[in-house]
């Protein structure tokens, strides 16, 4: 194998495994046929084209199966990541509940909705208890302070009980729909776990964008990137699954703003407006793409 072929094979990993199994050799054949004599490195425009082509092929491959159900699975994945992220700084004080939340996320990623349901119900009940100042289910000493590494307020110490309750209710409801429909959900990528450090300790109720802390900027950037990605995927495929996920996730996000509206800064309102605008775009784009086949 030449150095050029080895590099092209590495670049072709941008494509999904099924696509590679069918067409990797064909693409490689053409790539090597178009190369100049003695060429060892792929030209930059080809690198870019292969990376973009690989991402597009992955998005198209993801748009398989019933859009609504897969959209709900995406929703429960995002909400499970966010809810575990909020609990992580308190792992030393409430290890059992953080572990249950982590198990719920693993069950969701593996597509085991029946397994995730009781875990989410138990964690949700505990969290709602904390927000009401009640040590439900065990004798947790309230308020729950973060571990020493973290500079964060007490668990759900800011904001009211309504937004966290809505967030867990939405998650539980979506999980129940997925569980009772009978068919197994697909497995989600382990790459979702990489989002955990980015959202760790970021309770949306004390997300103070006006202060411009690194955690708030990271979270806003992540939200905007995910929603822009949802809009792009909907544009490419005309498929609504990403719009469904974006729309349902907006419910708990809006509940946070509605519950804490008196404390919201101008930047906080602008953040909410950005989320609504990007979600509306993600929701509208698939219908426009369906009307006009993109060639």
């Amino acid at each position: 194998m030449t150095e050029l072929e080895r590099r092209y094979r590495w670049l072709l990993r941008a494509y999904p495994p099924g696509y590679r199994a069918d067409y990797e050799d064909e693409l490689l054949d053409v790539l090597l046929a178009t190369a100049g004599p003695g060429q060892a490195r792929p030209p930059l425009r080809e690198v870019r084209a292969l990376l973009v082509g690989g991402i597009k092929a992955r998005v198209i491959a993801a748009a398989q199966g019933p859009a609504w159900m897969d959209g709900l699975h995406l929703t429960v994945t995002v909400l499970s990541v966010l809810q575990l992220g909020v609990l992580i700084p308190y792992a030393g004080t409430i290890p059992l509940w953080v572990a249950l939340s982590a198990l719920a996320l693993l069950a969701v990623l593996r597509g085991r909705m029946w397994a995730a349901l009781p875990l989410v119900a138990a964690t949700g009940l505990k969290v709602v208890g904390v927000t009401y100042g009640e040590p439900w289910l065990d004798g947790t000493l309230l308020p729950v302070f973060p571990d020493r590494l973290w500079q964060a307020p007490a668990l759900y110490g800011t904001g009211g009980p309504i937004a966290p309750s809505i967030s867990y209710l939405v998650l539980f409801f979506c999980l129940a729909v997925l569980a009772i429909r009978g068919r197994p959900s697909r497995r989600r990528s382990w790459w979702w776990l990489l989002a955990l450090p980015l959202v760790a300790g970021a309770d949306p109720a004390w997300l103070d964008i006006a202060e411009g802390t690194s955690s708030s900027i990271t979270r806003v950037g992540l939200e905007a990137a995910l929603l822009a990605g949802a809009a792009y995927a909907g544009h490419l495929t005309g498929d609504a699954r990403w719009a469904v996920a974006a729309g349902v996730c907006l419910v708990p996000a809006t509940a946070v703003l509605a519950e804490n509206v008196e404390l919201a800064s101008r930047q906080g309102v602008a953040h909410a407006a950005l989320l609504i605008l990007l979600t509306a775009t993600a929701a509208a784009v698939p219908f426009r793409a369906r009307r006009r086949i993109l060639l």
Partner: protein, 111 residues
Amino acid sequence: MSRGSSGLSEQTYFVLAALLDGPLHGHAIIKRVVDLSQGRITLAVGTLYGALDRLAANGVIVVEREEVVNGRKRRYFRISDEGGQLVRAEAERMQQAASVVTRRALGATFG
């Protein structure tokens, strides 16, 4: 890249034009597009196969046959009737658009 009213990009237009004379495989399409565009358009392989997948998914082209050359699979693509109509309609649209300017230039020369 600008798109005509049919939604065809210039690159896609030339890919379809390349297939009007008969089925071609990927590398032959790239070479034919270079010839037809007088060297102006050189398709990257990643771009070409993205376009071919999209066109095949929409029934504008079809896979005519597969061959194995040097142990590697090679697909030959053929333009469908729908694809032929699409690219001809785009050609007529561009011809009409070009005539808006060229008629004026001719009028200035002879008038």
